[in-house]
Each structure stands twice: as C-alpha cells, then as structure tokens.
Amino acid sequence: MKKVFSIALGVLTAIGGFVDIGDMVTNSLVGARFGLSLAWVVVVGVLGICVFAEMSGRVAAVSGRATFDLVRERLGPRVGLANLLASMAVTLLTFVAEIGGVALALELATSVNYLLWIPLVAAAVWLVLWRTKFSIIENVFGLLGLALVVFAVAVWQLGPDWGMLWHDATHPTKPGTEGLPTYLYYAVALFGAAMTPYEVFFFSSGGVEERWRESDLTTMRNNVFVGFPLGGLLSLAIAATAALVLLPAGIQVDTLGQVGLPVAVALGKLGLAVALLGFFAATFGAACETGLSVGYSIAQYFGWQWGKYVRPRQAARFHLVLLLSAVIAAAVLLTTIDPIKVTEYSVVFSAVALPLTYFPILVVANDPDYMGNRVNGRLANALGTVYLVLILIVALAAIPLMIATKAGM
C-alpha cells in the first residue's frame, strides 16, 4: 500500500510540476492564434524531454552525480564554461519570468498591483529555498499544481466538437491568415517551452538531493513516462481552451488574465479560483526549481558543495547564489518590464540554448565510466540522436525567425 502511495505521489507531483509560466502563456497564446494546429509540437517536445529526463535521472541514480557535474569533465573547462554561462543566462531569465508569473497570479486574485508583490514573492521563494526541505517543496507545489487539471475539465465542459478538435490537431496546417515564418516561430517557442533546459538539470540534481540509487530507476521512469506526458496533456488543455474561447473572439493573449478567461466561461467563479491556485502553484514551484537550477549549475561547474541535503552553512556559496538570483530577479522585474514579454523571450532563448544542454547529457549517459552497464541502450541513443538533430535545427532557426517575424508580430 505504501509503495502504491509513493508511486502515485511521484507521478502526481510530476504532472502538477510539469507546467510553468512558459507553458501556460505560450500554449494559450498559440491556441488563441493557431487553434490546435501546433499541438504536434507539444507532443514532440514532451517526448523529447521524457527521453532526456530519463537519461539524466539515470545518470544521477547510477553515478550519484548530477549531469551537469559531469559535463565539465567530459567537455573540458572551456566548453563547460560556455555551457554554464549560456544555461545560467537562460535559466535566470526563466526564473525572472516565473517570479513575475507568481506576482501576476497574486494580482489577479487580489487586485493589488503586481509590482508590490514582486519583492514579497522573491523573498518568499528565497525563504522557501533557504529553509524548506527539498521533498516538501516538490510534493507541495507538485500536488497543488494539479489544480491546472481544471483546464481539462473546462475543455470538457465547453462541449466542443471533438471530431473537429481531433482533426485540427492531427492535420497541422498553418491558418491561412498567418505567414509560414510566424507559424514556425511559434513552433520554436512551443518547443522551447516544452523542453526547457532547466528541467533536466533540476531533475538530475533533484535525484542526487533525494539520494536516488539504481533501485529507484523504475520509480523514476514511471514518473517520467507517465507523469510528464500527462503534464503535457495539461499544456494542450490550456491551448484547447484558448482555441475554443479566445480564438473565435479574436482575443490575442498578452496577459495572464486572458489565459484564465475560458475557465471562467466554462466553469464560473469556482473554476477560475481553482485555475488561479494552479497558476500560483505552477509558477511558485517553477520559481523554486529555476532558482535552485541556477545554483546547481554554477556549483556543479566549480565543484562547490551544493544542495538542500546539507545545512546551509555547509553550502555557503550555493546559497549565496540563490540569494543573489532572487535579488537580481526582483530588481529586473521592478524595472516594470512586462513579465509576459519576459516569458515569451525566455521560451525562445530556451530553444536556442537547447543543444548546449542536451548534447552533454547524451555524452554522459553513454559513458561506461559513470554508468557501468546502465549506459544508453540502442533505443535511447536512437531517440537521443534524432532529437539532438531536431534541437540543433530549432536552435539555429530560432533567432532568424525571431528577427524575421519581429518576435511573432
């Protein structure tokens, strides 16, 4: 019974923790503009992250080291440093977006201006990272994030023509009114949102935090192959609600408030309240994860003690990085930059940084020195290589598409 409970907890936490501000905003934005014609990108992206999360989780369980820890060793200090700087930059940008997202959710709930929430949210995130146990952070925000299931319920309640929805999703043709570059640009954004680099750092480091061993491999794989796709389904539900309500109304998504309106249409005040809870949990949880990821990546490059599994005094530089990240994020957001714009840029730059993140994982997961007989099998390598090619194409196309479409105008 206890085993069933812990498996269920793992999967549920994975579902609830999958969606972050990038997924919410990008899926809603794309659903409102392109209907479900880009749904295939989410499917491809989710499969991709499953493949690489399993690899990086396996690395943590078998070698006892987080993936990024091993990157410098295999790629050398110079390439490792380039990797570090790029990953940190993108993760920090995502961190800023998540904190902005929490503040926006609180603004929607209370009418108190989001700028006033920002210092509080940044402080709260830091405090949670300073004092709260790792597993509690994961479980609490993962389970609360399940509130986003309300979007799936809303789709059901809106009583759509399922046949037509399915047809749109399985026949990806760009709408006539949109240009091909714009369609591709949003494909890149959606892909970046689904395969965010920090997820795999975090997953692997989290595995070390939670002291995974080889015996935990099955549990880990359950969480990844059941939890992540179901989480991806939530992303698609958000897109579907936008396609059903916002698209016909000609509403373009540029605020978090618009993302939730379809839930209000379908389910009224109660549904909307649940959606707000989901927004808060998803963004706060993701803020914790991205904040930790910034610390993990720099500490794992330089060899500093990191992690919540030791007392803060024992990992002073790591905690200093977390503190500075929170301060920087608050400072950036207090310049009144639009958090939604930051989110939109963060997903595209995530797409650009993808090769740097995923290539080392593939290298490390194939190394018998760390992995023993748990190196990648043929399937993992086949999928990994295919995705690496895809990721490279996406990364190279991202900036030109952004310039050509003026960031999706």
Binding site: S63, G64, R65, D69, L70, R72, E73, G76, P77, R78, G80, L81, W130, R131, T132, K133, F134, Y301, F302, G303, W304, Q305, W306, K308, Y309, V310, R311, P312, R313, Q314, A316, R317, H319, L320, L323, D369, Y370
Partner: protein, 136 residues
Amino acid sequence: MTPNDTPAAPGRQYDAVLHLLDRQIVDPDDLLIAKVDDLELTRRDDGRWAVSAILTGPGALGPRLHGRLGEWVGAVWRRLHPDADPAPGRIPISDVIDIDSAVTVARHRDALQIDGLEIWVREHVVGRLPGSRHAE
C-alpha cells in the same frame, strides 16, 4: 598531459586526464570539496613525470581556460587572495583514497581548509542569516 600513473590503488592504471582532471573531489563523508582544476606534475628520478598533487581553485583553473579569460581569472584571484604571492589550493596525491565517479580524499573538508571563498561567504553572509545551522 601525458603521464599515466598509479595514485592510490596499486596495480590499477589511471589516465590522469580521463580519471582525474575536472572530476569532483569529495571527502570521506561524501561532502563536496572542489573540482580537480589542475594537476601538479613532478619529475621522478627515472625521468618520467608523476602526478604529485591535485590543484584546485581559480589559481589552478585560470591557466586551463587559456587566453584572456584565463588571465583575467588569474588576475582577479591574485588580487583577492590574502597572501602576497598566492599558491593554488593543493592536495597531495597521497591523500587520494579512491577514484570512481568522484575523487575521494582522506581528510575531511573542514580539515582541508582549501576553500577561501566558501569560508569567507560562510562567515560574512550565509552564516549571519538565521537558520544557517539547521538541517533540512
């Protein structure tokens, strides 16, 4: 970097670049100490080179970064280090007791005192915040 040498376990060959360089150094309690940022080589009597010590810290990593970036790292480290003519953190190779996915050394982290920055941050920033001693 060419030498192959046997640091700890007799009879097992280790490749200094593959198995030592850039690897995580841990203490017997599995606490993370630093990375192997560089290796100190000494010429033996028979003319061959041997790894005599592990070097860590910006003083050791700087030169391996090459070019202007490496020089800058080294310059900043020399400026901030309390000693007038600082030497990089050094762990003699005899301290190494195991090499697998990490390099385990015999002495405990606090005994090694190899980490200026960590100690400084602990004393001046993190240690001053309430709750820094509490376990999770």
